[in-house]
């Protein structure tokens, strides 16, 4: 039932493979996909991977540098696979221990690994063991525990109290019901209703009853006072009151916005029109003192507080266990330390755990998102488990080195990042190279767009800026100011008589996707080489705005979709990127949706060495960081240096 099983070295040489009966296609493709997306992207924490119709499970053997991969159809739920892989690994190691302990890569090539017999035996054992467990059959009523209990013991005593207290019609009714049901209780069904009847009187009733008990105790056991039970049901109003709406439908003149759109925006007088075009603004609504923060956001604050408390608890627990561990090792510590330094020993999970926890906290302190840190540390643990340490290397140094390697690996771009080259390509094909900037509010899209256009102009390209931010006040003016400054720095005489930068805008309130389409057509006609599209900032959970962005990207198919994120963001980065990618994937109509192609990391000068946001963003998307913004002037644009970032991260 397995499609294939392969054992290969980490250097790439297949030692032994098995292909199930009737499987015609080779496993090279899926296994390569597994390697590229899981192992090389440091997601080794989860050990299963789905590729088309196949489900792949794998196990790394770090001592002998082997990888064991098994593939089977996704629809089959085989329960024995995990244990099976472990068994195969142990068996293979034991059998070929001598060959595998040789040094050098030739050991994989010279030796013939005849594993077929053993494999089939193990497979048969595993399949048998999974069949052996018959599904548990249901017990009959006689056998069950319920038939042995008496009826009385099953009745909830809550009912009894209730029948004493309440005044008021409703409660009398409930008491009657409770009483009836108590008598009739002999079957499980009625037991349920008894409980439900008891619970039917809400939590407030229970509070009232408790209060009554308390007060009665206070009064020295006197009569329980009659408490008017606050009935949760509202007083029945006399007849139905007429619902009053805001606008009331009384004045249709208020609803007519036809005069305010589509006029010129550069004149001062038109600012009045634009003010009235702002939706939801009611004059005089902000008079007086500012209102407090809304009810909804206080809920959010509570949630955040709870989360913080949980995190703090976790952090408190971890150092406790660390201290305990240290105390235990105290006496054997002297010799243990020496033993640990000299001679080779295997790394186990327990050895690595304290070090990995410390590293995880260190990463979180450096502004890497919390779940990314834990996934990274799990992945490093999987990679190092069972590895043989050399002499004079401590666990901490090995783990640190492995973590450093994996961080550099994450930051390396997985594809070629050379925008100038791609623009040259587009120029030779006589079509403009379109770059779209998207991101949440206030991250620096417009500023970095201006920086990038400056860089492109310096390299001799002509740029068209499309102002597709039609919501924020002043967005178009901001871009116009940038355009003027850039043209002043690079006067048209130097660029064959035409301005280096031009702004394409259609004012406020219009549809961004339409403006973008017109801008690209204009650029193609006029021979602009690059089109930079500036979009409005939007929160990732604002569904209509995300739909609008996805539509803009799906309709215009830009060459590069850049997500602009600030380096100050912490755990939010994960949420932002996931939701942005999700929105882009959901709302595109094609099979291969355009997702985020690259990341622009802004405000890099504001963080000293808390550079973790770079890791979070590249880990989540797998896309490279194309630009790094380090300030607010035109020359503050850099490319990412993976090594420098990682050394800043690992610095104590």
């Amino acid at each position: 039932m397995l499609d294939f099983f392969a054992i290969f070295s980490k250097g790439g040489i297949v030692l032994w493979c098995f292909q199930g009966a009737g499987v015609s296609e080779s496993f090279t493709g899926p296994v390569n996909a597994l390697i590229r997306s899981v192992i090389l992207q440091e997601r080794t924490g989860n050990n299963s991977f789905n590729h088309n119709a196949l489900s792949l499970k794998y196990k790394l053997d770090n001592e002998f540098e082997l990888v064991f991969v098994v593939g089977f159809q996704k629809i089959l739920t085989l329960t024995y696979v995990d244990k099976f892989i472990d068994d195969v690994q142990l068996h293979f190691r034991d059998r070929y221990k001598n060959e595998l302990e040789q040094r050098g890569a030739l050991k994989f090539l010279l030796n013939n690994f005849e594993f077929g017999e053993d494999f089939h035996n193990l497979l048969r054992e595993a399949e048998d063991s999974s069949k052996a467990k018959a599904p548990a059959s249901m017990r009959t009523f006689i056998e069950s525990q319920k038939s042995q209990k008496t009826v009385k013991s099953m009745i909830d005593t809550k009912d009894g109290d209730k029948s004493k207290e309440q005044g008021g019609k409703k409660s009398k009714n409930a008491k009657k019901e409770g009483g009836d049901q108590a008598k009739a209780a002999s079957q499980t069904v009625s037991k349920k209703t008894v409980e439900n009847g008891g619970d039917g009187l809400t939590a407030e009733e229970i509070i009232e009853r408790n209060r009554a008990k308390f007060i009665s105790k206070q009064l020295g056991g006197g009569k329980p006072e009659k408490i008017t039970s606050k009935s949760p049901k509202p007083q029945k109003p006399k007849g139905k009151a007429k619902r009053v709406w805001d606008m009331g439908g009384r004045n249709t003149g208020d609803l007519d916005y036809s005069g305010s759109n589509g006029n010129n925006y550069s004149d001062a007088q038109t600012q009045d029109y634009e003010a009235s075009a702002e939706p939801l603004i009611q004059v005089d609504s902000m008079k007086g003192d500012l209102k407090g923060v809304d009810y909804e956001s206080s809920d959010d604050d509570d949630d955040d507080d709870e989360d913080e408390e949980e995190e703090e608890e976790e952090r408190v627990i971890v150092p406790d266990t660390n201290k305990k561990g240290a105390k235990k090792g105290g006496f054997g510590g002297m010799f243990g330390m020496l033993k640990g330094l000299v001679g080779s020993k295997n790394l186990t999970q327990e050895d690595m755990e304290p070090v990995l926890d410390k590293m995880k906290d260190h990463l979180i302190a450096k502004n890497v998102a919390a779940e990314i840190s834990s996934q990274l540390c799990e992945s490093v643990a999987k990679k190092l488990e069972g590895k043989v340490m050399g002499t004079f290397t401590t666990v901490a140094s090995t783990v640190k080195l492995a973590l450093q390697d994996s961080l550099v690996q994450i930051l390396q771009p997985k594809r070629r990042v050379d925008i100038l080259r791609d623009v040259l390509d587009a120029r030779s094909q006589r079509k403009p190279f379109v770059i779209t900037f998207c991101g949440v509010n206030g991250v620096g899209k417009s500023t970095n767009l201006a920086k990038i256009s400056y860089w492109l102009i310096e390299n001799g390209f002509s740029v068209l800026i499309a102002a597709c931010d039609t919501f924020r006040a002043g967005a178009v003016e901001q871009l116009r100011t940038h355009q003027r400054r850039l043209n002043a720095l690079h006067p048209p005489e130097k660029h064959a008589g035409r301005p280096a930068v031009q702004l394409f805008e259609k004012g406020y309130g219009k549809d961004a996707a339409g403006i973008a389409m017109e801008a690209i057509a204009y650029a193609r006609n006029q021979g602009f080489e690059v089109v930079l599209i500036d979009t409005a900032g939007r929160m990732q959970d604002n569904a209509p705005l995300m739909t609008a962005l996805a539509k803009l990207i799906a309709v215009n198919t830009p060459d590069l979709v850049l997500f602009v994120g600030e380096a100050l963001v912490g755990n939010e980065a994960v949420d932002q990127l996931v939701k942005f990618n999700q929105a882009l994937a959901d709302h595109s109509k094609t099979d291969k949706p355009r997702l985020i192609d690259g990341i622009v990391l802004t405000k890099f000068d504001t963080i000293d060495d808390k550079v973790g946001a770079a890791i979070s963003m590249t880990y989540i998307t797998g896309q490279p960081i194309v630009f790094v913004g380090t300030g607010q002037t035109y020359s503050d644009l850099r490319s990412l240096n993976a090594r420098a970032v990682v050394s800043a991260l690992m610095k104590a």
């Binding site: 790439g12 297949v14 890569a105 090539l109 890099f604």
Partner: protein, 267 residues
């Protein structure tokens, strides 16, 4: 000594210590002093010599197999070492083994198979570039047209690396997978690469500097003012065709790597 030590005016200057030191030395016999000086000089000389020889003997004993993913490096590695076929997957780590070259001197050096994956190759090349005596750049000739930009970028980044530019190892571009019918010839690949590198010279030098101010690859390939050609490079450059799989398919023992082996023998 009658000096009173005033706690607030304590003078911790090093002079009294030096004086006492010199006095001590002067008290000893001259022979002793001479012996000590000679020993020191010997130690320094040995360290310097070892440093030199170590450096030079460690130097440049490795031949790196570089290339994009799926270009056939691991199979080529197997073929060169053992002459037999081995099925391979994407490499995660590098493999190295000693290779006895087929020339009269019977010299041997280390053959290193570097994984082609983008996230691994840079780190591993960093490790081995100082000891690289030659670079075999493996190119997949059948899909070259599609990947020409990636191939050129990788080759450019290697050639403009500071250490590589200083050591100038020999460059052998092996146009692999010639057994596939759509494979491009070595000459065509050379021309295309030269054109691409020409463009890359311009775009890469205009690329942004990295955030700590370091400008990568300030090496300029070839001659300024003229189109880039591989013959302009200081080291030896060869373009050869080969086929790691061989014309007889998987089980074939005859692989078209004779040209490659001859080229390696000349190292």
């Amino acid at each position: 000594m009658d000096e009173k030590i005033h706690p607030d005016v304590e003078d911790f200057s090093a002079e009294p210590l030096l004086d006492t030191f010199i006095k001590e030395i002067q008290k000893e016999e001259v022979v002793f002093l001479l012996g000590i000086c000679v020993a020191l000089v010997l130690v320094i000389l040995t360290v310097v010599f070892f440093g030199n020889f170590w450096g030079s003997s460690k130097a440049r004993n490795a031949v790196l197999l570089l290339g994009l993913c799926d270009s056939g490096k691991t199979l080529l590695f197997t073929r060169l070492l053992l002459g037999k076929f081995a099925r391979s997957q994407t490499s995660i780590t590098e493999s190295s083994a000693t290779y006895k070259s087929k020339n009269d001197r019977g010299s041997s050096w280390t053959l290193v198979d570097v994984p082609g994956h983008e996230s691994l190759r840079v780190q591993i090349v960093e490790k081995y570039k100082a000891v690289a005596r030659a670079v075999v750049f493996v190119v997949d000739s059948s899909v070259f047209q599609k990947d020409v930009r990636d191939v050129a970028e990788f080759l450019y980044s290697i050639l403009t690396d500071g250490t590589v530019a200083k050591n100038t190892p020999a460059l052998v571009v092996a146009c692999n997978k010639q057994d596939i019918s759509m494979a491009k010839s070595a000459k065509l690949i050379q021309q295309q690469l030269e054109k691409e590198m020409n463009t890359l010279r311009v775009t890469r030098s205009a690329a942004l500097s990295s955030q700590d101010g370091a400008v990568g690859g300030s090496v300029y390939l070839g001659k300024r003012g003229k189109d880039f050609e591989f013959s302009q490079l200081p080291g030896r450059v060869e373009f050869i065709e080969c086929s790691a799989r061989g014309s007889k398919g998987e089980d074939g023992d005859v692989a078209g790597i004779d040209a490659l082996e001859k080229s390696l023998a000349r190292l």
